[in-house]
Symmetry: C2
Subunit: 302 residues, 2 copies
């Protein structure tokens, strides 16, 4: 049985006005659908500029409840176009409690699931620990009419554990809304290593789990409001790959793009028969994975 | 502090005669040392042809105890050349109990540690489950005069869990003796995907853990004794990469090679400050990693 899922990835730049960003994304979703996409993935926090470049208490005003106006608008769009939309929002759960949340809207069924970003980064230019409480829903895929989706978000993409847990829970595809860019002060060689590492580590999740994968990233230079002349240049490069990590399609680094790519979900069955990694995992030897570090554990005798 | 470790990788073909194979490897180790290597890595089961192409009870005759003649010869060589050798042997532990074992010989200190391959493959042409009992020493790095080595073997390279556990136990580099090749009956496109996936998944272990990594693979067509006209074409391609997955050096696919490559171990400190994945692992959410599959676990409400 051949099960093809045609993905759409909507990569765009973001400005100050959330309504305008939403409109850009909506136009991208429509375009992807016209080109045949049945599941459309947005970039991370597509409604807003990447506000985490500084710690600004007023930026919490950008958050919204889930369900809320964002999911309502996305649900309308999903129903109108008869598609599944996986979108990333800034979720306000309570006063002083916010998450970086991906939501899933399934055709005319509305909001069918959410994933709260589990791994939260924090480094110069990406002050996310200030804004986002780490997710408390675990690594649970979302069931939709098109399949079981392993939705993760950005920084999660560096953690093989996240991809593995989604695979073990039956995800049929891994999806990553993302906002990642270069510090323009870095050397071009360092920038190239970063982009390549970003793509490589995700392709490896596809390989290690025998699953297709897609990542959708924003583009454009967003100035740092707190540091004139500085900012982040988001590197686009949204892509999809198959279960051997083979790249199926990729977007440019420097401009918006709507990527539409058919993904053969049934290939997982064939690839996992050839490379049956799930058969051979040494679960009896993996206990240390729930430790922070193993410096306290005595090693075996030589 | 800059700590450079110069690695040598000895990639060669193997024939029927273990003594001759050993001599090829020994010459490679000498050559690597002449070119500046301080730590030399062999390919998997370098003393023998890849006997796992069929299930043959007489092939157990190729095994040897550890310590035994193989480690004695390697220890002499390590002492003579004042290098660390990481080598792969077919270990006979008891009648009916055999392992695929990597051994570590540290300059004039002899055998200082071993690793027994934890993940054992088994698929047409690679009947390893017949020969090798899965390792029972866990994922414990080996301390040497040149650093703490995360030694793993071949099929382990597809499992992010193995690399992660070595990193958590303080490994400073990941090392993979390997024997992997193409089924000559496969299409060239499939062969290319396999090679690329093999390299990609290992580079991703380097990235996810901020560690340098090296893999040493054999070359040459080895006919399948049980199936005339068939066999495995080992794809060589031994390589080393740095902690961002950046490839530092690579060997050809079709001929023997001695690769010597300086690796800056101190780069891990800098890379992990920029990408502090170990800081952010959600160990409270990783319990499922010790499950075979999570089909029995109820998911959260949507």
């Amino acid at each position: 049985m051949n099960r093809t899922l045609t993905l759409g990835l909507v990569q765009h730049a973001c400005g100050e006005d959330p309504a305008e960003n939403f409109e850009r994304c909506r136009e991208g979703v429509r375009e992807a659908t016209r080109l045949g996409a049945r599941l459309v993935l947005t970039q991370e926090l597509f409604r807003t500029r990447y506000f985490c470049q500084q710690e600004d208490p007023t930026a919490f005003d950008l958050a919204e409840p889930v369900p809320g106006p964002g999911t309502a608008a996305l649900a309308l769009l999903a129903a109108e176009l008869d598609v599944v939309i996986v979108a990333s929002l800034f979720e306000r759960r309570a006063a002083g409690l916010f998450h970086n949340t991906a939501v899933v809207l399934d055709r005319d069924r509305g909001l069918v699931g959410r994933y709260r970003k589990m791994h939260i980064p924090d480094d110069p230019g990406y002050y996310e620990k200030y804004y986002f409480t780490p997710g408390d829903l675990g690594f649970a895929p979302v069931d939709t009419s098109l399949g079981r989706l392993g939705v993760l978000v950005c920084w999660d993409q560096w953690f093989p554990e996240a991809a593995r847990l989604m695979a073990l829970a039956g995800a049929e595809i891994l999806l990553y809304p993302t906002a990642i860019g270069w510090d323009p002060a870095d050397e071009p060689e360092e920038q190239a290593r970063q982009t390549d590492a970003w793509r490589t580590v995700q392709r490896a999740h596809a390989i290690a789990n025998g699953l297709p994968l897609a990542a959708c990233n924003r583009v454009g230079l967003e100035p740092d409001p707190g540091a004139p002349g500085q900012g982040q240049r988001f590197w686009g490069g949204s892509f999809a790959c198959g279960p051997q990590g083979e790249v199926l399609a990729g977007a440019p680094a420097d401009r918006p793009a709507v990527l539409v790519v058919p993904v053969d979900l049934s290939r997982t069955e064939r690839v996992r028969r050839a490379w049956p990694f799930l058969r051979d995992r040494r679960i009896d030897g993996y206990g240390g994975l729930t430790s922070r570090y193993l410096d306290l554990r005595p090693g075996p005798d030589p």
